[in-house]
Amino acid sequence: MELVDLGIKAAQAGLAKGEFCARDIVESVIRRYREKNGEIGAYLTFDEEHALRLADANPKSVPIAIKDLINVAGQPCTCASKILKGYVSPYDATVIRNLKANGFIPCGRCNMDEFAMGSSTENSALGVTRNPYDLTRVPGGSSGGSAAAVGGNLCIAALGSDTGGSIRQPASFCNCVGVKPSYGRVSRYGVTAFASSLDQVGPMTKSVDDAAILLKALAGRDEMDGTTPPEPVPDYPAALAGATLKGVRLGLPKEYLEVSGVDPEVKRITEEAIARCAAAGAELVEVSLPHTEYAMAVYYIIAPAEASANLARFDGVRYGHRSEMSRDVMSLYLKSRAEGFGPEVKRRIIMGTYVLSSGYYDAYYGRAQKVRTLIKRDFDRVFAKVDALITPCAPTPAFKFAELQDPLTMYLNDLFTIPSSLAGVCAASVPSGFTRDTNLPVGVQFVCGGYEETRLLQVCKAYEGTLQ
């Protein structure tokens, strides 16, 4: 066992006892990176000298791999897009400042779907990431590089971001714990925006304990992000002591469990997970979220609409790619964006521009926001009756490269993760077993109400215990 195989909790314990220092951990990460990244491709870039310098300056800190859309001063931040190739961040995102203030250092840049749009990391314009459990399969996405780094032991833990499932689905595919915090719990300042009413940064880790430690470091009010409320951040790790499922009212949403198109092995693993929760003392309650079937449609209006506005900043003027072919300002915009963005990003920008355009706004964007209210009310109603929901995380285990060609089929990956994103509540994927024939990891999703991360992590921790 190498230091890179440790989780955060064990690494912190070793640092505290003086068994090793941050440089030892970073050197171990670098050795693993050199040995394994060629085949897995979890990292897009890895500035070894930068990581070692930070480790020497902070000898008691734990290195964290960073999704390549979070700014770290002096490091690249490409969002896996050609349009940001060569870009160097002028400042640290708030989550990076928070990491540094809490005994962590950023270490390596993880691959992703371009601008976080995708469910397989195949939309990266800059590299291929393979699933560490089966190199012929995708790691999920959009935080596929982060998930592969954690699941393949190329890091201690990683940061991902989740707009409609981009932490949870890859966590399920790569056998890690992935937490999407409630909307606003973690600052988005310095995190390249995809859909601003949905985006959240969160931990991707080897255990629920580690997720609690990392979330505590990340969360909190930030003056630079007006969507972060001043609510205090609970001591999540401390709250996990004695976590139990006894007496927990666990909701079984029929819209998630009785839906067609779910892989039979995912179904089996989810049913076994429910049975283990019941055996551990959880009270099972059948519930209904009747507007679930509209969530995908709402998401594929709202997210592209917000993306089309956010990505307007990539115009070749102040930073990013500028076309050599431009003659005037208009052709500079048209050609710089044409050359810089990949196909999925272009599709979503066009879709978003369409649903916001004159004559269509009310029918699409305006209406979608109202249906979103109904989806949110579904969750409010259900969380008056139960403490948490248990659902499949993704409809299938990791699929093969190029297996899903049609964009709409790819979008269905986020069927179970999108509704909680729209509602702004918190949710997590927890490793739950392996498929019988293909031996692929599968995660189960737990969902709790807004700012109920303590309860969510307690449920996940107790559930994790039922697997051992």
């Binding site: 160097v88 002028p90 400042y91 409630s182 909307y183 606003g184 009413s197 959240q200 007006g226 969507t227 409320p229 079937e293 509209y294 995908m296 449609a297 709402v298 594929y300 209006i301 003027v317 102040r318 930073y319 990013g320 790619h321 500028r322 300002v329 500079l332 915009y333 048209l334 050609k335 964006r337 044409a338 196909p343 272009k346 599709r347 920008i349 066009i350 879709m351 978003g352 521009t353 369409y354 649903v355 355009s357 029918a363 305006g366 209406r367 979608a368 926001q369 109202k370 249906v371 979103r372 209210t373 109904l374 949110k376 049609d406 964009p407 709409l408 994103s421 729209l422 702004g424 807004g450």
Partner: protein, 99 residues
């Protein structure tokens, strides 16, 4: 709601994206399919429902209007594709002006 009538070439231009003929031919049916899919929300009764703008409703988040340090000018210009002195350099915008 009528059948989807997204004109991909027209909308792409609104979004300042130049598409190749191949991209246009690929995206037109794909986006028609996506538009058709999302139109299922037209079946939902939303009478009297308030729109949800954000993941968590917060309003009137103010701070003191005071001068604070911001990103250094040189740092802000470091990623510029082209610059002249302390400014970003662009092709001429005003028609008829000397370039």
């Amino acid at each position: 709601m009528a059948a989807p009538k997204i004109d991909v070439a027209y909308v792409a231009n609104l979004a300042r994206l130049e598409l190749t003929p191949e991209e246009q031919a690929l995206f037109q049916p794909q986006l028609e399919g996506i538009v058709k899919y999302v139109e299922k929300i037209s079946a939902v009764d939303v009478a009297g429902v308030e729109p949800m703008m954000h993941g968590r409703p917060l309003s009137n988040v103010f701070r003191e209007d005071e001068v604070r340090p911001s990103l250094d000018r040189e740092a802000a210009l470091e990623n510029a594709p082209a610059r002249v002195g302390d400014e970003f350099l662009l092709p001429k915008i005003v028609e008829g002006a000397e370039s």
